[in-house]
Amino acid sequence: VPVLRPMDLMVEASPRRVFANAHTYHINSISVNSDHETYLSADDLRINLWHLEITDRSFSILLPANMEELTEVITAAEFHPDQCNTFVYSSSKGTIRLCDMRASALCDQHTKMFEEPEDPNNRSFFSEIISSISDVKFSHSGRYMMTRDYLSVKIWDLNMETRPVETYQLLTVLFYQVHEYLRSKLCSLYENDCIFDKFECCWNGNDRDYRQDVTFEASRENSKPRSVLKPRKISTGGKRKKDEISVDSLDFNKKILHTAWHPLDNIIAVATTNNLYIFQDKLN
């Protein structure tokens, strides 16, 4: 005889709509437009524009280039928070292109291109790889952009294309201060492929004072829930102070690649492979 057994409520996700067959490479970005009707999806070589209600049709607003001359791929894309015809996309060569969909159906001609000239003193065989932008985010106001490359976070003013307004040249992570020591580690990071990790960045809700409010991804995991996280410095070598962590003890296999900041409150969500952490301001 069948027995009724009460169980806890189970939540199961099921797709409401599937937008399929428009990408042949890994999708790296999705961005809903400010008109709340369309959104874009981007893979390594293509950006498609979709209508939220139409699943079987999309428009390619950026097309793959000639495969023979393939030296650059799209790494991230996002719609402007206010202007529904403007979007931005970043590349593996460290450039950011601003596009206006009104200009032409195919947005391979960018409106503006943002690029910081390479510092010739710091040039190495890894320069291009670490300049590859892994994430680009508009500020909520739409006036600024934040980009994340391997070793730094840069804030760009949309009115100034020649160089970023601010550059955080440290690999600053959420709760650790890490200095330029990573430059000397690039060979190892190349060997173990960690140099290809893609980190995210995000803005604080009010992005008024972005210096303090910008969050960076964390590269170390933390274990206990509700423990208070203390920022700890990474020492580059030589004498190590008491509370610091030595460079070589960092495990590059433990990393946090996804993060989000609550749009209103100071609450941060951080995701590792299998775990999601929520952090908030310590309540007094």
Partner: protein, 325 residues
């Protein structure tokens, strides 16, 4: 299929790995404690003539980096998730190293040294594949492809006998060229028997299938690929390198023209193919594809001249059996 070497052919990389990756031990060769290859070294582009005589450690490191990068490219299709961005970045790194080595003359030295060695062609093919993409960057006077591969190709032109009778036989002779299918342009192959469009399609099919041991749909004909036929000869190199990252789609409906071409293929081909190449069974391979896979799936991707000639005799013998009566 990547024609790059396996790790066994880069033994010096293993020995040098402790130079490149001290893993916490002190590095000896730079004053600031930083690896000169990793940071801030401009290499031979520096102004002074003294800088042009590279320290051997820098050369070694650079060579190791090149080898490691080539291996990464070779193995990238074995990753759990093939990553186009990563491969593009690695390929750019290789190109960068190659350009620098070409500038200071090391590249030519290396290729000539390799040409004299036993199994040179694999690495040459590796560099050849990447060199083809740098043709635009290579200046006049520089010859980024001074390889014996092209010599081999010329040497075998004489073998390309235009014969009466079987189209198959003609294809046989040109397919037996040790030059890999990727290197011989479609137009070159189309010449002797003038079935260019068909050949391109077949070769595409065959290449796609032979390229991957696992089932793959790289040859899902994207609209834009079809439009680039005029670039076919060169673009296929890029596609060979990067085309493997397309996400698998359900296979497109089979081309009726191809079906027709293969309809009279004797199924015994497939068994022979499996035996000879050790591959997983591929869905449909015509005799042309069989020969291509025979020539390129051997222990080394391209054999040296002498072993190729003996391979030719074997293949001749096999062809007699297949084409037979």
């Amino acid at each position: 299929m990547f024609l790059f070497l396996s790790l066994a052919l880069f033994p010096h990389l293993l020995q040098q790995s402790d130079i490149m990756f001290p893993k916490g031990t002190k590095r000896k060769f730079s004053d600031s404690g930083e690896d000169p290859v990793c940071s801030g070294v401009q290499g031979p582009s520096a102004s002074s003539a003294a800088a042009r005589t590279l320290s051997s450690s820098y050369s070694l490191q650079r060579q190791s980096l090149l080898d490691m990068s080539l291996i990464k490219l070779q193995l990238c299709h074995m990753l759990v998730e093939p990553n186009l961005c990563r491969s593009v970045l690695i390929a750019n790194t290789v190109r960068q190293i190659q350009e620098e080595m070409t500038q200071d003359g090391t590249w030519q030295i290396m290729t000539q040294a390799l040409a004299a060695a036993q199994c040179p062609a694999d690495r040459l093919v590796a560099t050849e594949v990447l060199c083809r993409q740098t043709d635009a960057a290579a200046q006049a006077g520089q010859s980024p492809k001074p390889f014996s591969v092209s010599d081999l190709e010329e040497g075998y032109h004489s073998e390309e006998v235009v014969m009466d009778g079987d189209v198959e036989t003609e294809v046989t002779m040109s397919s037996l060229s040790p030059v890999s299918p990727q290197l011989s342009s479609a137009s070159y192959l189309a010449g002797p028997f003038g079935v260019a469009p068909c050949w391109e399609e077949e070769e595409e099919e065959g290449d796609c299938e032979e390229d991957e041991e696992e089932d793959s749909e790289e040859c899902v004909s994207e609209g834009e690929e079809g439009e680039q036929d005029h670039l076919r000869a060169d673009s296929r190199t890029g596609e060979q390198v990067f085309g493997t990252f397309e996400i698998k789609h359900p296979a497109p409906p089979p081309d009726p023209a191809l079906e027709e071409l293969f309809s009279d293929v004797d199924p015994s081909y497939y068994d022979l193919d499996t035996v000879l190449t050790g591959m997983q069974s591929t869905p449909k391979m015509g005799p042309y594809d069989l020969l291509e896979s025979l020539s390129s799936h051997g222990p080394t991707a391209l054999s040296s001249t002498s072993s190729c000639r003996s391979d030719l005799n074997e293949l001749d013998h096999i062809m007699e059996i297949i084409v037979g009566s």
